[in-house]
Symmetry: C2
Subunit: 143 residues, 2 copies
C-alpha cells in the first residue's frame, strides 16, 4: 500500500446524535485543528426539527464528515487526513465530546494498493482484522 493518509470511521451511540448544527460545526472544526489540519470550507444541512443533520468540513488535507440520526441515537463521523496530520487526535476530540456516548473507531489506510513505481521500498502490510484495521507503514516518495 502506498499510503496517502488515514481514514477513521467513527460510530457513536448517544448524545452526538442530538447535537445541533452549530455544536457539530464547532466540534468538527475543533477536531480538524486538533489534528493539525487546515479548514477550507464548512457546510451543514439540518433536516428539520427532530431529524438529523449532515455536514462536512473540507480540509486542505481531505475531510471530516458527520451524519446524525437522532431517532436512533446514532451519529456517523469520518476523519480522513493526509500528510502529516494527526487524525487520531481529531477522533479523540469527537469521541470524548459526549462523555456518556459509546463510540467505535476503525482505521483504514488510504492510498494505492497497486504497483505504481512511486514506492521506493516495500513496506510492511497491515494486519487487518474484522472491524479493526491496523495502520500500515506505507509512505509517499518525495519526488
Amino acid at each position: 500500500m502506498l499510503s496517502f493518509g488515514h481514514h477513521l470511521i467513527i460510530e457513536c451511540l448517544g448524545q452526538h446524535a442530538h447535537l445541533g448544527e452549530q455544536a457539530l460545526e464547532r466540534l468538527l472544526v475543533t477536531a480538524a485543528e486538533a489534528g493539525g489540519a487546515s479548514v477550507l470550507q464548512t457546510h451543514f444541512h439540518p433536516f428539520g426539527e427532530g431529524r438529523g443533520i449532515t455536514g462536512v468540513v473540507l480540509l486542505a488535507e481531505s475531510h471530516i464528515t458527520v451524519h446524525t440520526w437522532p431517532e436512533h441515537d446514532y451519529a456517523a463521523f469520518d476523519v480522513f487526513m493526509c500528510g502529516g496530520c494527526r487524525p487520531m487526535q481529531a477522533a479523540e476530540i469527537i469521541t470524548t465530546a459526549c462523555p456518556d456516548a459509546v463510540t467505535s473507531v476503525r482505521s483504514i489506510e488510504r492510498g494505492l494498493p497497486f504497483s505504481t513505481g512511486y514506492v521506493t521500498e516495500h513496506l510492511s502490510s497491515s494486519n487487518s482484522q474484522s472491524d479493526s484495521f491496523s495502520m500500515g507503514e506505507g509512505k509517499i516518495q518525495n519526488s
Copy 2:
C-alpha cells in the same frame, strides 16, 4: 452490527486524478443519481494549476467525496449511502469513468457495533478480510 448503510472506499490510479473541477462535479452527481440518492449540496475546492481538487456532494442519504493528487496519479473517492440507495452502482459510475484507470473498491458497513435494543433479530456477521470487507446484513428496525 445495526446497519445504517454502506460506505465504499474507492482508490483510483490513473486519469481520475487529472479530472477538472467541473468534470468531477458531474461525475459525483451522476454517481449519486445512479445510486438513487438525492443531492443536497455540491462543494469543490481546486488547489491551483497542476495541483489537486477536493470536493463533496452532500446527499440526503450521506455523502460522496473526492480528493485528487495529480502528481501521484491518485484519486480517493468515498461513497457513503444509507437507506435504500445503491452505493455499488454509484461506485461503478466512478470506477468506469476512466477506462484505463486501475481501481479498488472496499466496502464497509456503517452503523452501530453495540447492543442498542433496536435490533429485532441477530444477523450474520461480516467476514472481513484484509482490504476486502464484506457487507453484513444488519437492518434498522422500522419503529
